[in-house]
Amino acid sequence: MRTAAIIFWLGTKELRTLIGSIALMGFLIYSFTFSVYQQSQGVPEDVNRASVAIVDEDQSTLSRNMRSALYPPYFKVPEGITADQIDPLMDASRYLFVVVIPPKFESDVREGRSPEIQVNIDATAVRQAALGAGYIQSILATEISRFANRNDSSSVLPIKLIKRKAFNPNGTNKWNRAVTGLLDQLSMLTIILTGAAILREREHGTLEHLLVMPITSFELAFSKVWANGLVILVFFTLSMLFVVEGAIGVPFAGSRLLLLMGTVVYLFAAAAVGILLATIARSMAQYGLLCLITIIPMMMLSGGMSPLESQPDWLQRITWFLPSRQYMSFAQAIAFRGVGFENVWPEFLAMCGLGQAAFLGSLALFRRSISATG
């Protein structure tokens, strides 16, 4: 009871400070609206307007058909170049793909000699290269086969492959990017704000003042967690409803309430991480660097930016301990797959546990950090 009252009153003080700060509110608004929106809109597809050139040494109907088969949005309208331009232009990153159609290609196809098409790929952009090459192959193959079988309707492929994408039938990139973007902002701001709140009190001397009062480190830390967490939760909810679902138009498959519950747990974990960092850092400069070192892996390895399966096994075992990874899979499961609590409780529990560990860790370091700066 006593503890609850202290946590409550300290927290209301924190809320006043936070809401009163124009700069911080500005950051929150920027991050939860513009940032999230831009991140989802910037890259509509993984392969989007990829630059292609064609070296057409055949100059036949077929080769011209092939050239016009590549069009936006996946590809830019292909440009014609000559063979000796391939290397310099690819060096200059003008083209991601250069397709070479050999001489006598059309007639070779007609006579069933199975001529070879060369596709040069700038493999430094790994993901686009892999996907784009696949697209090119399938588009051109269809085109060639249509040409070859113009008068021969019988020759269809023996097995028809029907691909369906569950949870996102059109493979709209912005859905995933919107949710990832929202979650990234959430992690980043919760950690930075909560930690900075502690550092600010320490720099202004008010932290000392609180610690000579009958207030435990736990009460102090927890008041920061709930107050900062609450503000961010409000922004998160608004952003989820009006930016992600509203402006970006992501359909929400699962229970919003369940997602919010999980978000509360994650906010606790992230805020605890922020406090932990603030107790380690001795100055704002150090804190800024520590935040970078922590937040970037939390964002990049959470599974939002690249699939978890692509992490090596040893790394996957480590990233299990990132609360952001647990939250990412929790949020994706609810938002896209629409599952219930019975399917996400492991992530839920993991977030609770990880948050608690970070929180306890920061409490252990709390007093030590005060005296160290004495």
């Binding site: 069933g112 001529p115 003042h209 896209f336």
Partner: protein, 925 residues
């Protein structure tokens, strides 16, 4: 209202400075209200009055450090409103701002500090050397040349500050409260030093502000100020004569408007009731060491309940540290302390209800109102709502805060804030008060009111009071005092008894202290030489040494760079974080972020179960990309397992698949892919198509009957630049782009914001430093750090990640240099926008994170972006460096091929500099 000031009897003497109708406001607070005064050449003028009456503002304006709002100031026959004139005369003015060592660099040694100031005034090495020698000889700092300024005592810091101000032999020396927070001995030494300097440099004019009325006696003329206005001026004798008082302290009170004078009776202190019973505070051999520095050395005392115990000593002598140990904030290195017989224990909450604490400086919540601050603390002490209300009424009345109840604490003048702090400290009616310099900077009347309250608490409510102070007349009001110096207690007794042998009163007490500090100093050899000037002359330098360097601007620029470098080197943790952190991130991301998806869990729903269907499925199970999970039972099972992420892909083979295939019936195979993560879904789609095509091919080979059409054309893929097609070759050269942006930018941003917060930015305001010199000077070291980081990252990419570098290292280095200059330039820009370090970090990190990670081509080529994202990518330096890095590493491009990128990159720093120069003001607002 203005009072014409006559500063000298000889009207023929010209004035160094003239101030006319000067006005200055901070928001709604009026700092200066129509001030007019003249400062005569070669004389000394003292500004007296408590803190917050506008003294500092006035001095800042005269020195040119602060931007004028209204009125006129002429210094050396020119208007200080003109930047050109300020620039011309700033070499003749020296300004030492308020606060111990406020304009010093705490991490730098005495010599480095002096050297830095010498460089700013364009002095050659030999000249600086000679000057430093002479100044430090004269001030007794010569023995401590290599000690960091932060580890000097308060008095020595001020002497160093003075030396720094004198290094360019100014004609006008402006000192803002130079002796506040300094022990009595150092204060005396300081003034002796000033006297000897004035004796040797007759033409120099001295302008000083002080809160100590006893010091004011030594000036040629005085100006008494209150609430932004001049109350009176004249020689000390004249002021005493007009007010009919015998001391300046009393004269000052008499000059105040009637309602501010308080009750002018001398405070009466009833004797202590008893010293029986258990002592309230006991300390035995308390010791605190920070590294090799002993802050508190074997301090012991016993304080009785209801006693007022005074703690005296200069700043940095260990008073605050001792208090922190008593409150449990700082566990002692050695020794023990007891409160009411219980050992001080940080986790003991019950004791804390009985103690009230007021820390040095203002430590309340500035953004809360008076009422809210009181309420918050009452609640934290669990005072009932009714009681709280009653208590707040009582305190607000008692401390005269009624009119300010709903004002934000930060907006109150210092005296009121101190009263609020005390009100907060006693809200829970504690039995003990620990007060750390509660009255410094408070005017005499307010101090008396404060003490009335303390005496009432002690004598009528038996509250134990442990208080530290700089004022001798306050010390005399204590029951016992203890003088600390350099971490040790020198004297501990009844103050009246101590003062007795030296003639009694505040002067006697001060004399007693000076003697005991001198004695202690002789023992420890510190300060020993400082007592007297060693006779080293402070005469102007001989002309042979005074030769200005050819490029004074460059010298100043490099002075800033050198200083910044030294500061960074003294805080290696920052560098460790920067280097270690970027290295760690490089490895984590390089290994962790790859799009080579393998071991994808999938399951099959085989409704056919024929050799044909099994043959088809074998294409998947034999692929290294897929990992087969137990077979699916039905459609529901398929959906459930996809939803719960047990599988990411499912294959459904319809009944009679085999039969249809044989008959050429074109059976359909359905594949479900988890599309929640879009890019992974796209990758899986590719793999599925691959496996499917392979089966078709096999089918074609095995069964060359006419039903299976032959492949019409074959595709040959050439993966240029990365033939094995591994993510690491793409990521290795990519990730440093991010590291070289974020780390240097944050370090840079914090560095300038920190100078603003600490106050050393004043040195930029008052020295002839130009904007570009300051900016570039600060930037150079961070460019260096960025390049060191570049070297480390490149080595790791080449040798650990084994990404071969095909192009020229020189091109890459050139690109990195331009890039790091651009990113630190961004940091500079951000730090000019931010007022605090917190905002600087937020701005530097949050604003740059998205354009760098998302829109610069790290994962998505800029050419594939759309809309605002595309624009942001093009306007951001990361995209160009990324291209240079990838181009050099994997494509082996020549400098010629990368020229467009290099040129674009080179355009960023000038843009950032331009914006910085626009934003950076050469004066404080």
């Amino acid at each position: 209202m203005s009072v014409p000031v006559r500063t000298d009897d000889h009207l023929s003497v010209s004035n160094v400075a003239e101030v006319n109708n000067l006005k200055h406001v901070y928001g709604k607070t009026v700092a200066l209200d129509n001030v007019t005064l003249q400062i005569a050449t070669g004389k000394s003028l003292g500004l007296i009055g408590p803190d917050g009456v506008g003294k500092s503002t006035l001095l800042g304006l005269i020195s040119g450090a602060r931007k004028m709002q209204g009125g006129a100031i002429s210094v050396f026959d020119g208007s200080m409103a003109s930047a050109k004139h300020r620039n011309a005369v700033c070499t003749r003015i020296a300004y030492m701002p308020q606060g111990l060592g406020k304009n010093l660099y705490q991490e730098l040694s005495v010599r480095e500090n002096l050297d830095f100031f010498g460089k700013l005034y364009g002095q050659s090495r030999s000249e600086r050397h000679a000057r430093i020698d002479r100044l430090t000889q004269a001030t007794g700092l010569a023995d401590f040349l290599n000690r960091p300024a932060g580890k000097l005592s308060g008095g020595m810091k001020q002497k160093l500050g003075l030396c720094c101000a004198l290094i360019h032999e100014p004609d006008l020396l402006i000192l803002d409260e130079p002796t506040t927070g300094v022990d009595p001995l150092s204060r005396r030494q300081f003034w002796e030093l000033i006297d000897s300097i004035r004796a040797e440099r007759a033409g120099m004019t001295l302008l000083v502000s002080t809160a100590y009325m006893d010091e004011a006696e030594r000036f040629d003329s005085l100006v008494a100020m209150d609430a932004g206005r001049v109350l009176a001026s004249g020689t000390p004798a004249e002021i005493k004569a007009t007010t009919n008082t015998d001391s300046l302290e009393k004269a000052f009170v008499a000059l105040l408007p009637i309602d501010k004078q308080g009750n002018r009776k001398d405070l009466m202190i009833p004797p202590m009731i008893s010293t029986e019973g258990e002592p309230a505070i006991v300390a035995e051999g308390l010791t605190q060491r920070f590294g090799d520095f002993t802050a508190v050395d074997q301090v012991s005392f016993k304080i009785h309940a209801g006693e007022i115990f005074g703690f005296l000593g200069s700043n940095g002598c260990g008073k605050t540290t001792t208090m922190k140990m008593l409150t449990g904030l700082l566990p002692p290195t050695d020794g023990k302390a007891w409160l009411w017989g219980k050992v001080v224990d940080a986790s003991d909450l019950a004791t804390r209800y009985r103690v009230g604490f007021m820390s040095q400086g203002f430590s309340l919540y500035g953004e809360l109102t008076v009422q809210q601050n009181l309420q918050l603390h009452a609640r934290l002490f669990h005072i009932s709502a009714v009681k709280t209300q009653q208590r707040i009424e009582e305190l607000v009345n008692r401390f005269g805060l009624t009119d300010y109840r709903n004002k934000q604490a930060a907006s109150l003048p210092l005296g009121l804030r101190q009263r609020l702090s005390l009100a907060v400290a006693v809200i829970h009616e504690p039995e003990m008060l620990i007060l750390d310099e509660p009255t410094s900077g408070v005017d005499p009347v307010a101090r008396d009111q404060f003490w009335e309250f303390l005496i009432d608490l002690s004598r009528n409510q038996n509250v134990t009071i442990f208080i530290s102070t700089h004022f001798m007349n306050e010390a005399l009001r204590c029951d016992r005092i203890s003088l600390m110096h350099a971490g040790r207690v020198l004297v501990q007794d009844d103050p009246r008894r101590i003062a007795e042998s030296f003639g009694g009163g505040a002067h006697g007490l001060e004399e007693a202290f000076i003697q005991s500090i001198e004695k202690a100093s002789r023992e420890t050899k510190e300060n020993s030489k400082a007592t007297e000037s060693t006779g080293a002359s402070l005469q102007p330098m001989s002309a042979s040494l005074v030769n200005s360097p050819r490029f004074p601007g460059l010298t100043r620029l490099l002075a800033f760079s050198y200083r910044e470098t030294m500061e960074v080197m003294r805080d290696p943790v920052r560098l460790k974080f920067a280097f270690g952190g970027s290295l760690l991130l490089l490895l984590v991301i390089a290994y962790g972020l790859s799009s080579d998806v393998e071991n994808l869990a999938y399951a099959v729903l085989d409704q056919d179960q024929t050799p044909a269907s099994r043959a088809y499925l074998q294409e998947y199970s034999s692929s290294r990309y897929f990992l087969q999970e137990p077979e699916l039972r039905n459609k529901d099972d398929l959906e459930a397992r996809l939803a719960t992420r047990q599988i990411t892909m499912a294959i459904e083979i319809p009944p009679s698949f085999g039969r249809n295939l044989k008959r050429g019936g074109n059976p359909e195979v359905s594949v479900w892919i988890d599309g929640a993560e879009t890019s992974r879904a796209a990758t899986i789609e590719g793999y599925v198509e691959g496996a499917h095509a392979k089966f078709m091919e096999r089918l074609g080979r095995e069964n060359s009957s006419a039903q299976i059409p032959r492949e019409q054309a074959s595709f040959q893929f050439r993966y240029k630049y990365n033939p094995t097609f591994e993510s690491i070759y793409a990521m290795g050269p990519t990730i440093p782009t991010m590291m070289l942006l974020l780390f240097p930018a944050i370090l840079m941003a914090v560095s300038v914001a920190r100078e603003k917060e600490i106050g050393t930015i004043t040195n930029f305001y008052v020295t002839p430093t130009r904007r570009m010199e300051f900016l570039l000077g600060k930037q150079l070291p961070y460019i260096g750090i960025g390049m060191a980081n570049f070297a480390i990252l490149t080595l790791v990419v080449v040798f650990l990640l084994q990404v071969p570098m095909k192009g020229s290292l020189i091109t890459l280095t050139l690109g990195a240099l331009l890039y790091v200059t651009a990113t630190t330039g961004y940091g500079l820009l951000v730090s000019n926008l931010a007022s605090s370090q917190v905002t600087a970090v937020l701005l530097a990190a949050i604003l740059s994170m998205m354009p760098t990670m998302q829109f610069s081509g790290m994962f998505q080529p800029v050419s594939t972006l759309e809309g605002a994202a595309r624009v942001m990518g093009t306007m951001w330096p990361a995209a160009y460096y990324l291209h240079i890095s990838v181009g050099t590493f994997t494509k082996g491009l020549s400098a010629f091929a990368l020229l467009p990128d290099l040129i674009k990159l080179a355009m960023f720093p000038p843009v950032f500099w331009f914006l910085c120069v626009l934003l950076l003001k050469k004066q404080e607002k």
